[in-house]
């Protein structure tokens, strides 16, 4: 299990992996400890610099994934707005849509068949 595994395009060894993690981890800890430690804790020096503006609380500064698609949804507003309206969250509406679509498909199949 701890032996050398030849993959054809290289090798894998659990021991080397563990050793590397230890070596790189120690280097990271060493470099981090060399950092500036004279800053004043629990003051403004602890907080991020936002052009001098106060730091907002985490909730109001949260960026959700749909912010990335803002331009996309804005450009396709004509398509999305009716879709959002259709999604009422009411199960009766959804059942109604299934019945209506099924009837339409059945009619289409009946007419063409």
């Amino acid at each position: 299990m701890l032996g050398l595994l030849e993959t054809g395009s290289g090798f894998w060894s659990a021991i080397i992996w563990v050793l590397l993690v230890l070596v790189i981890g120690s280097m990271v800890i060493y470099i981090r400890n060399k950092g500036e430690d004279s800053y004043k804790k629990n003051t403004e020096q602890d907080k991020p610099f936002i052009s001098g503006n106060p730091e907002e609380n985490k909730e109001s500064s949260h960026l959700s994934a749909n912010h990335i698609y803002w331009g996309f949804t804005e450009a396709l507003k004509g398509y999305y707005n009716p879709l959002i309206k259709i999604h009422t969250g009411n199960i009766n509406d959804y059942s109604g849509w299934i019945i209506v679509i099924t009837v339409i498909i059945l009619i289409m199949v009946g007419v063409s068949g």
């Binding site: 004043k40 403004e44 020096q45 907080k47 610099f49 052009s51 001098g52 503006n53 106060p54």
Partner: protein, 152 residues
């Protein structure tokens, strides 16, 4: 000024954060002129940085407008110690033409402690460079006194 003493200070680079608290940009243009090839401040290791957290010196231009009051204090607090503050221009020094204006909180020294004043409207780049040099010397003295205090 002692040349040997000055050379000692030039061994370490000086990072400067420029903060405009309501300046007309006249002083800011002169600061930028100090970085152009004619004066080339960067050859001495003096450079502008994008965050006060990386800075040794705060270079402030303009009178402190009411909107900037909190921000100036915050930026000053976020600058690590030891730090020096240079005020460039007549407005930051005394309020200048905006003295006692309804939307001005006053000169910079009414809000944060100031170490060096560079008066002028706007001051020439040579004057600003001299101001930075004064701040540098003050900062190094501050560093040395902090070191000796720590050693004790």
């Amino acid at each position: 000024m002692d040349k040997v003493k000055l050379n000692k200070y030039f061994e370490r680079s000086l990072w400067v954060f420029h903060l405009n608290t309501g300046s007309c940009n006249g002083c800011d243009i002169e600061i930028v002129a100090g970085l152009t090839p004619r004066y080339d401040l960067e050859r001495f290791g003096i450079k502008l940085v994008g965050s006060p957290k990386h800075a040794d010196v705060l270079l402030v231009t303009g009178p402190v407008t009411s909107k900037m009051l909190d921000r100036v204090k915050r930026v000053y607090e976020q600058t690590p110690d030891p730090k020096a503050v240079i005020v460039v221009g007549a407005c930051g020094t005394s309020g200048g033409v905006f003295y006692n204006s309804y939307n001005i909180s006053g000169s910079v020294d009414k809000v944060i402690p100031v170490d060096v004043y560079v008066p002028g409207c706007p001051p020439r780049p040579e004057a600003i460079i001299n101001g930075v040099l004064q701040a540098w010397i003050k900062l190094e003295n501050l560093r040395e006194s902090m070191k000796t205090a720590q050693a004790k």
